[in-house]
């Protein structure tokens, strides 16, 4: 076993697997009622690790804590202070954060059904099982201590869907590939888009895309229970509470399926083909998940044969956005660019680009480099399932609420999730555009100096764009929180805390 080998039995399975075979799933948002009982429950909880089995297990359990939850469990202030500012501050702790995340207007945390100010749950227990086995698994997991230990803040059942999100689009197609082999050297400028990302972007305790270890709590070996932890790779004298753990961003996003299709139908004068084409332009993929831009002939690092047919592309072939609009959802969420845009060949060209003396074209080199802003998605859905063929019929009766539980894993919430959400998805100025935000997720709120942000531009080959105006809001935030998803040793450390 080399020094670089990754300890899969110390990592929660969710980091490596989406548990797609475990179709039955529910989440408990809990408050700690009795810390001793909670620790006792945690000590024996069958939390799933990331070891690859021949076949998926029958069931899985993942556990993650908010900062108030860690406090309630007995983590001391000095240890807690080692976590990141945004985790400590919480998703709703600062109005500035809500502004950046687009959590204003109807998305305001004041209106959330859970997770709003003063309503942050302590922990989340995530249960996954094969069909029909969830009830039994829940009982097994809860055990004797559950009722004494916890108070249920919210029970979030999920609906079993087969790869389609509620609007009817194939979902979860593009994920970063993690460099489990730890062979990637992140230093220097990357001149091509890569989907292979340093482990430290998704796990604490490993080098990130800057070749640095993201800050996390490092404990003195003599501090209580610290001996249960692994030593820090970068600071060998310290015990690493973050090692093999990461942050989990959870947002409950309610989708107005009828509203979405009614709007595109009206824009398309009820022409079914035009309606679908417009919806696909907004997403940036066809309903079946195929990209709107052509696939590349050469392979992309980190895009393997299994997802190549839908992910072997960048937007370099479509700088004007005539195939896939510049503001399309997938182009905002992952612009698939390199560190330096354009064709850099040789030292002179590299120097020119580095000093900003490359192309002078409008929109050239405007975007941040993608590799520092990736997240791993592990979302599930809620609400009764609507088959895609019904979803896209405007006016088809769809009672009840539905949407997705957006779950994202990242080691640095502010540089990864918050950046993608704030600077790209919700920004009304993304990629030198104006007056529009994400066609799916945008909150359409006016901003000072800009009376409207509810447009969507479809660049055309002929030159003159088509602009959709008056887009309503299709997605509303109903809840959310930042969690710490500890490694398994760290869970045992937490279970052993005794104040």
């Amino acid at each position: 076993m080399s020094d670089l080998a990754v300890d899969f039995d110390d990592i929660q399975g969710l980091v490596r697997f989406g548990h797609s075979k475990l179709t039955d799933c529910s989440f408990y948002l809990l408050n700690i009622h009795d810390a001793a009982a909670a620790r006792a429950w945690l000590a024996s909880a069958p939390v799933s690790n990331a070891v690859q089995l021949d076949d998926a297990p029958q069931a899985a359990l993942q556990v993650a804590f908010t900062s108030v939850g860690l406090q309630a469990l007995g983590v001391g202030a000095d240890v807690l202070a080692g976590f990141s500012d945004e985790f400590l501050n919480s998703m709703v702790g600062e109005e500035n954060r809500s502004r950046r995340l687009g959590d204003v207007g109807t998305n305001d945390p004041q209106h959330w059904s859970w997770g709003g100010p003063g309503k942050i749950p302590h922990l989340i227990v995530m249960l996954y099982a094969r069909p029909g086995r969830l009830a039994a698994w829940t009982q097994t997991v809860q055990g004797a201590k559950w009722d004494t230990a916890f108070e249920v803040v919210a029970f979030l059942p999920t609906s079993n869907t087969v790869g389609f999100e509620p609007f009817g689009f194939a979902d979860g197609l593009s994920q970063p590939a993690l460099d489990w082999q730890r062979q990637r050297d992140p230093h220097g400028d990357r001149l091509t888009y890569s989907n292979l990302v340093a482990l430290g972007e998704f796990l604490l305790g490993y080098p990130n895309e800057y070749g640095r270890y993201t800050d996390r709590p490092l404990l003195d070996p003599w501090s209580p229970a610290a001996s249960l932890l692994a030593m820090a790779e970068d600071v060998p004298a310290k015990c690493d509470l973050g090692r093999n753990g990461t942050y989990l961003v959870f947002r409950q996003l309610q989708q107005d399926v009828n509203g979405f299709w009614r709007f595109v139908d009206q824009q398309a004068n009820s022409n079914p083909q035009a309606r679908e084409a417009l919806a696909e332009s907004m997403v940036g993929r066809k309903l079946n998940g195929d990209p709107l831009v052509p696939l590349l002939s050469q392979a992309i690092e980190g895009v393997d044969a299994t997802d190549g047919s839908q992910n072997q592309f960048t937007f370099d072939s479509d700088p004007g956005g005539t195939k896939c609009p510049i503001g399309a959802h997938i182009r905002r969420a992952n612009p698939r660019n390199a560190d330096i845009p354009g064709d850099v060949k040789g030292l002179v060209s590299w120097l020119l680009h580095t000093f900003g003396l490359g192309s002078k074209k409008f929109r050239y080199d405007v975007l941040a480099s993608t590799r520092f802003h990736r997240v791993l998605r592990r979302g599930r859905q809620f609400g009764a399932v609507v088959p895609p063929e019904h979803a896209k019929q405007p006016g088809y009766p769809i009672p009840g609420e539905r949407g997705i539980y957006f779950l994202a894993i990242n080691a640095n919430i502010s540089r990864q999730f918050e950046f993608v959400q704030g600077a790209w998805v919700m920004s009304t100025k993304f990629n030198a555009m104006t007056e529009e935000s994400d066609p799916l997720l945008g909150n359409r709120s006016a901003i000072p100096g800009c009376a409207f942000t509810n447009t969507f531009s479809l660049p055309q080959e002929s030159g003159l764009r088509t602009r959709i105006t008056g887009m309503p809001q299709f997605v509303t935030v109903r809840g959310g929180a930042y969690f710490f998803l500890p490694g398994l040793r760290a869970l045992q450390y937490l279970a052993a805390l005794d104040r």
């Binding site: 202070a81 500012d85 400590l88 501050n89 600062e94 109005e95 500035n96 954060r97 502004r99 950046r100 800057y210 640095r212 993201t214 800050d215 004007g320 560190d339 680009h353 580095t354 000093f355 900003g356 003396l357 002078k360 409008f362 929109r363 080199d365 405007v366 941040a368 480099s369 520092f372 802003h373 502010s414 540089r415 918050e418 950046f419 704030g422 600077a423 920004s427 009304t428 100025k429 030198a432 104006t434 901003i447 000072p448 100096g449 800009c450 531009s457 660049p459 055309q460 002929s462 030159g463 003159l464 764009r465 088509t466 602009r467 105006t469």
Partner: protein, 433 residues
């Protein structure tokens, strides 16, 4: 073309009056640090030529850092600074300030040492003006009037395009161009749109600019043999310091972070001040002066069209020495949120950041002046945040507009006014909408 210029009035705040001054400055605001353009103290909205302005009470919480070099703390004064970026000559701005905001400014400056009821405001401001050692303006020559006219032009064109979409989409590019030109000319005749002609470039400015353009390289050429001879010694001196200078990068105090956060992201543009001490000794001071001299040259002659190296989100930025070059202020107006601004800096101009800031105390360790430093991402972000000062009152003449918006609007106007474009050029121009 009307070039841009800047002012920064700096004066020590009288002992014990900082809090009262902050309260007074806050009365100008409608939101944290965002001024009401019509406020009673300085009605910024009346100033036709003012792009940005701000008042900052510069309380430096990092004065103890010098003790890490084994030197005693120096209690520098706390300054009130008043910064502005404007079009045209300084004399016009000074007299406009006195004329439109004389009473308000007198009230504000009365909190400063040595300012009394009998002080001549104009002379006092001029004598307390501190020039930057390096200054960047996003698009040299683009005036506030132009920004506003061009934005109105784009909005009018956008709604015309929207209202006439079906007929325009059936036209050839040249026909669309002609139609838009005639629409705009009708609007101009009706007085609904105005596109003022650029004023002639002042001769004195052109002359000074030319002298600077050739003078700096000439001087460098003359100095080159000496600099080359000095290089090995320089590298030795630099490395010795780089290997021993302390990093001071503690985690951010939550109260400080909150104080900064409440006043950020209220507009698409944010204000930014970073303030700190230059590392002790003449080596660092001279090195910094030399590097900023070069940066200033590039900003003045090369980066004059929307980009400072690869960064296209800065509207205006300046580096200013204070206290006999012992402390430095960096002040800027940038688009987006601070996290993105810092990422842009680190990933796009990390080397530039290192040369400009690594001579400041606390900066993460650099190697050979340009390497590492800011690439130590988290440490760099802690250092920057720690040295950031909240602004007390901030004015931006065109809320809601980013530097990219301004560039697009200018390009739209240029294309509109160009009657001789080919079909391909018109197509490219239409893609700006």
């Amino acid at each position: 073309m009307t070039p841009q210029a800047n002012f920064m009035v700096a004066a020590p705040v009288a002992a014990g009056r900082i809090d009262d001054l902050r309260h007074l400055l806050a009365t100008m605001n409608v939101a944290p640090a965002i001024v009401d353009p019509a406020n009673a103290l300085v009605p910024f909205g009346q100033f036709e030529h003012l792009h940005f302005a701000r008042f900052v009470v510069m309380e430096d919480s990092t004065l103890n850092d010098i003790t890490a070099f084994g030197l005693p703390r120096v209690d520098y004064p706390t300054y009130l600074t008043f910064l502005g970026d404007f079009d045209g000559g300084a004399d016009a701005v000074w007299s406009e300030l006195v004329q439109r905001a004389g009473n308000g400014l007198r009230q504000v400056f009365s909190y400063c040492d040595g300012f009394s009821a009998s002080t001549d405001l104009l002379a006092w401001m001029k004598s307390h003006n501190v020039s930057p050692v390096a200054y960047y303006f996003n698009w040299v020559g683009r005036t506030v009037v132009q920004v506003k006219e061009e934005n109105a032009l784009r909005l009018a064109l956008e709604s015309f395009l929207q209202d006439n979409a079906s007929s325009l989409h059936s036209m050839q590019p040249s026909q669309i161009h002609k139609t838009l030109r005639s629409f705009v000319s009708t609007e101009q005749q009706a007085g609904r749109l105005k596109l003022s002609l650029a004023a002639p470039t002042p001769l004195g400015w052109q002359f000074r600019n030319l002298i600077h353009l050739v003078g700096v390289p000439f001087l460098l050429l003359v100095l080159a043999p000496f600099l080359l001879l000095y290089l090995p010694i320089f590298l030795f001196q630099l490395r010795r310091r780089e290997l021993s200078d302390p990093d001071i990068a503690p985690r951010i105090d939550p109260a400080h972070a909150h104080h900064l956060a409440v006043q950020e992201d209220l507009d698409v543009t944010n204000q930014f001040n970073a303030f700190g001490s230059v590392k002790p000794g003449l080596f660092r001071q001279w090195l910094l002066m030399f590097l900023l001299w070069i940066i200033n040259y590039t900003a003045r002659h090369i980066y004059t069209r929307g980009r400072l190296a690869r960064v296209s989100t800065i509207h205006a930025a300046r580096w200013v020495f204070l206290d006999n070059k012992k402390r430095m202020l960096f002040a800027s107006n940038y688009d987006g949120s601070l996290e993105g601004y810092m990422d842009d800096f680190i990933n796009k101009v990390g080397f530039g950041l290192n040369i400009a800031f690594s001579n400041g105390i606390a900066y993460p360790r650099t190697n050979w002046l340009v390497l590492d430093g800011s690439k130590n991402e988290q440490k760099f972000k802690y250092v920057l945040r720690r040295h950031q000062l909240p602004t007390d009152a901030w004015y931006k003449a065109y809320p809601g507009l980013t530097a990219h918006d301004l560039e697009r609007n200018t390009l739209i106007r240029q294309g509109l006014e160009n009657a001789a474009m080919s079909d391909t050029e018109i197509k490219g121009w239409l893609q700006l909408f």
